[in-house]
Symmetry: C2
Subunit: 73 residues, 2 copies
């Protein structure tokens, strides 16, 4: 798979949200634990729907969860 350029702050947000476990977040947004791990580690960038759901769980704007680098394109 293609190494994604998108970075994220999921891990920090999880801890800031009461030591929320990966499994809890995963089921909260409706994906599997493995999928969440992959996203959190930047293995690939999620779909827009999943991205929105994560932001909503933490009640922050999407750009607070995912960052896209300035350059390229």
């Amino acid at each position: 798979m293609k190494p994604t350029k998108v970075t994220n702050s999921i891990r920090a947000l999880r801890f800031a949200h009461g030591e929320m476990k990966q499994a809890d977040l995963a089921s909260a947004i409706g994906v599997t634990r493995q999928t969440l791990i992959a996203i959190e580690q930047g293995k690939y960038s999620p779909s827009l729907e999943v991205a929105f759901k994560i932001a909503r769980v933490f009640a922050v704007p999407l750009e607070d969860v995912f960052q896209y680098p300035e350059e390229d394109l």
Copy 2:
């Protein structure tokens, strides 16, 4: 394919950006014309990377381009 819950304002943004053509926007963000048409029409929601690229072309926050409904999840 699954009807996406995500809506977008791409068409309006295109016109607000000097009557920008679909083909021009497509090549600007690095996808094909057909892909842009499908996204613009809400046939499916794009990847997070593509979403970010579109927002960057129009120089607006991602949430100004794509909207996710309140309810569900």
